[in-house]
C-alpha cells in the first residue's frame, strides 16, 4: 500500500481540492464587492429566501440522509421481505401508511426512498412511501390542524387525499412503470467495506448529492418568491377551476416545506377550501426542489414521467375530495 501512495504524490495533478482553495480565496477576497452587489432589495430578498429555504431544510435533509444510511447499511435485506407483504400490489398501501412514522418533510424522504429501493423494496412501494411520508406524518397534520382551526375536516381531507394519491401512484407504477427508468447511481463503495466505513460513505454521498440538488431547488423557489407578486394570484381566486390550477401551480413553484405549507394555505383565504386542499396535496409530492432531488437520486427519465403523472393525480384527487366535502 505505502508505495502506491508515495507514487500518487509524485504524479501530483491539479485537482478538486486545489480548485476549491483558489475559488474560496477569490470569493473571500471579493467579499466586499459581493456584499455591495446584494444591497439591491430584490437580490437581497432573493438571498434571504434562498438561505432560509436551505437552513430550514438542512435538519430534515441530514436526518433523512442519516436514516437512509442506516437503512442502507444496518437493516438487512431480509427485514424488508418480512415487513412488507410479498405481493407488490399489497406492499404499496402498507408502505404508504408506513409514511405516518417519518416525522419530517419531503427533503428527507427522497434519499430514504432511494435507499429502500437499493435494499430490495419493490419500487412501487418505495414510491408510495416517498409520496405519503411528507404529507401524512403527525407533525404535518398537527400543523394543518393549527393552521385551519375553523375547518378541522381539512386535516382528514389532506391525509385521505394524500394517501389515495400515493397508493394510486404506486399501483400505476406497477402497471406502467419500467425499471429501466430508475437509474440509481452505482454505489460500489457500499459493498465489501466495513459497516462504519459504508455508513459514512453513504452519508457523505447523499449529503453532496441530495444537498446539491436541494440548492438548485431552493434557488428556483427563491426566484419564484421574488418574481411573482401576490397581486397576480388575487385575480385568479374568483374562478373556481382556475383557482385550483393556480394554487396547484403555486405549490409546485413555491416549494414550501410540507411542515409550513398549511400556514401559507391558510393565509390564501380568498381562495376556495378545495383549491387550498389541492395546494396541500400537491406541495409535498411535486415541487421544484423535489423534482431536482428526484432527478438526482432516481435519474432524469424517471423524474420526467413521475412528477407530471403525480401532479395530475394529486390535482384530480384533491379537487375530487374537495368537491365531495365542500
Amino acid at each position: 500500500m505505502v508505495p502506491t501512495i508515495s507514487q500518487e504524490r509524485v504524479t501530483w495533478r491539479f485537482g478538486s481540492v486545489e480548485a476549491l482553495a483558489i475559488l474560496l480565496v477569490t470569493l473571500v477576497a471579493l467579499r466586499n464587492p459581493l456584499a455591495a452587489l446584494v444591497s439591491d432589495p430584490r437580490l437581497q430578498t432573493w438571498t434571504t429566501v434562498f438561505v432560509s429555504v436551505m437552513v430550514q431544510a438542512v435538519p430534515f435533509l441530514i436526518f433523512g440522509v442519516a436514516l437512509s444510511a442506516v437503512i442502507a447499511v444496518f437493516v438487512p435485506r431480509s427485514f424488508w421481505a418480512r415487513a412488507l407483504p410479498r405481493h407488490p400490489a399489497a406492499a404499496v398501501p402498507v408502505a404508504g401508511l408506513a409514511g405516518v412514522v417519518l416525522p419530517g418533510c419531503e427533503c428527507g424522504s427522497v434519499p430514504i426512498a432511494g435507499s429502500l429501493m437499493r435494499r430490495g423494496v419493490t419500487p412501487a412501494a418505495a414510491l408510495a412511501f416517498l409520496l405519503a411520508a411528507p404529507a401524512i406524518n403527525p407533525i404535518v397534520l398537527t400543523a394543518t390542524a393549527v393552521a385551519f382551526p375553523g375547518n378541522p375536516e381539512m386535516v382528514a381531507a389532506r391525509a385521505g387525499a394524500s394517501l389515495v394519491v400515493a397508493v394510486a401512484m404506486g399501483w400505476l407504477w406497477l402497471r406502467l412503470g419500467r425499471s429501466e427508468w430508475i437509474r440509481l447511481p452505482r454505489r460500489s463503495d457500499l459493498d465489501g467495506s466495513s459497516r462504519a466505513r459504508a455508513f459514512w460513505a453513504s452519508c457523505r454521498h447523499d449529503v453532496m448529492h441530495a444537498g446539491g440538488f436541494l440548492v438548485l431547488g431552493a434557488a428556483a423557489a427563491a426566484t419564484i418568491n421574488v418574481v411573482v407578486p401576490e397581486s397576480w394570484m388575487q385575480t385568479l381566486a374568483a374562478e373556481p377551476v382556475l383557482s385550483v390550477l393556480a394554487l396547484a401551480a403555486l405549490a409546485v413553484l413555491l416549494s414550501i416545506c410540507s411542515e409550513a405549507d398549511a400556514f401559507v394555505a391558510a393565509s390564501l383565504s380568498q381562495f376556495s377550501l378545495t383549491s387550498r386542499l389541492v395546494f396541500l396535496v400537491v406541495g409535498p409530492m411535486v415541487d421544484l426542489k423535489l423534482i431536482a432531488m428526484q432527478t438526482g437520486v432516481f435519474g432524469r427519465r424517471f423524474a420526467a414521467r413521475f412528477a407530471p403523472a403525480t401532479f395530475v393525480a394529486a390535482v384530480l384527487t384533491g379537487a375530487g375530495v374537495g368537491a365531495v366535502i365542500w
Binding site: F50, V51, S52, Q56, A222, E230, S231, Q234, F263
Partner: protein, 235 residues
C-alpha cells in the same frame, strides 16, 4: 470532485450552519425552535467530513480503488449557501418583501373573546395583536390605552410610511407582512427599513391593502423613536 474536496465542502456547509445557529443569525431565516436541530445537523456534517478525511488517509480496503469517478458534481453547489451565510449573512426580510404580499391579517386566527390588555403605560403590543384586536374586536380592548408597537418602516400605497413586521410560520420563504398604518400629527420621516418604536392610541380608521383587500388598521401616533432591529425580527 474528489472525496477530500467533498469533505472541505461539508466542513464549510456544516460550519456555516453551526455559526448561524450558535449566534442569532439563524433567527433571520427560521423559527427559534429549530435551533437544537440545526446544531445537531451542523455537528453531524462536521462528523461526516472528519470521517471522510479519516478514511481517505487510511489505505483503502481491497476491492475499492478509492477514486470513484462517479462522485456527484452537483455537490459543488453546496458552497453557495455556505458562503452566503459565512460571507454575506443576508438580513431578515424587509420592506421589499412586505410590499410584495398582502397583510397577513386575512389568515389570522380570530379569538372569540379578547382578554384585557396587561397593565403598563404604554403597553407593548405585537403588530399582530394590535391588528387583530383593532379589526376583529373593533378596538374594544384598546380604547383609552397608550400603546407601543415595534416594527420597521415600509412605504404604504399612498406613499406614507407604514409600520410593518413580518410573520413567519416555518422559514422566511413563507414570511408574510402585518401592516399597520400610522396617522396623527407627528411627522414620521424615518427612512424605509428603519426600525422604530411607535407610541400612540387606537383609531377606528381602517384601509384596504391593495394587494389582497385585507384590512389594514391604523394607529394614531403620538411619538416615535428610532431603534435597532430586535433579536427576533419576525413575530
Amino acid at each position: 470532485m474528489n472525496r477530500r474536496a467533498q469533505a472541505i465542502v461539508m466542513v464549510l456547509f456544516g460550519g456555516a450552519i453551526l455559526k448561524a445557529s450558535l449566534t442569532d443569525v439563524y433567527l433571520r431565516y427560521v423559527k427559534e425552535s429549530l435551533q437544537p436541530f440545526l446544531i445537531a445537523a451542523g455537528v453531524l456534517l462536521l462528523a461526516a467530513a472528519a470521517m471522510t478525511l479519516y478514511y481517505e488517509m487510511r489505505p483503502a480496503p481491497t476491492g475499492e480503488d478509492g477514486h470513484d469517478h462517479h462522485e456527484p458534481q452537483v455537490g459543488w453547489l453546496l458552497i453557495v449557501p455556505a458562503l452566503g451565510v459565512l460571507l454575506i449573512a443576508p438580513p431578515a426580510l424587509g420592506s421589499y418583501a412586505a410590499g410584495q404580499s398582502g397583510t397577513a391579517l386575512a389568515g389570522a386566527q380570530v379569538e372569540s373573546e379578547f382578554s384585557p390588555l396587561p397593565p403598563g403605560d404604554p403597553v407593548p403590543l405585537s403588530l399582530m395583536e394590535y391588528a387583530t384586536r383593532a379589526v376583529f374586536d373593533q378596538g374594544r380592548t384598546l380604547d383609552g390605552r397608550e400603546l407601543r408597537l415595534t416594527g420597521f418602516i415600509s412605504p404604504g400605497p399612498d406613499g406614507r410610511p407604514m409600520l410593518t413586521r413580518m410573520t413567519v410560520a416555518c422559514c422566511a420563504a413563507d414570511g408574510r407582512p402585518i401592516k399597520v398604518g400610522m396617522d396623527g400629527a407627528v411627522a414620521i420621516d424615518a427612512p424605509v427599513d428603519t426600525w422604530i418604536h411607535a407610541v400612540g392610541v387606537y383609531t377606528s380608521r381602517v384601509e384596504k391593502d391593495p394587494v389582497n383587500q385585507a384590512d389594514v388598521p391604523y394607529l394614531r401616533v403620538t411619538s416615535w423613536q428610532q431603534t435597532t432591529a430586535p433579536r427576533r425580527p419576525y413575530e
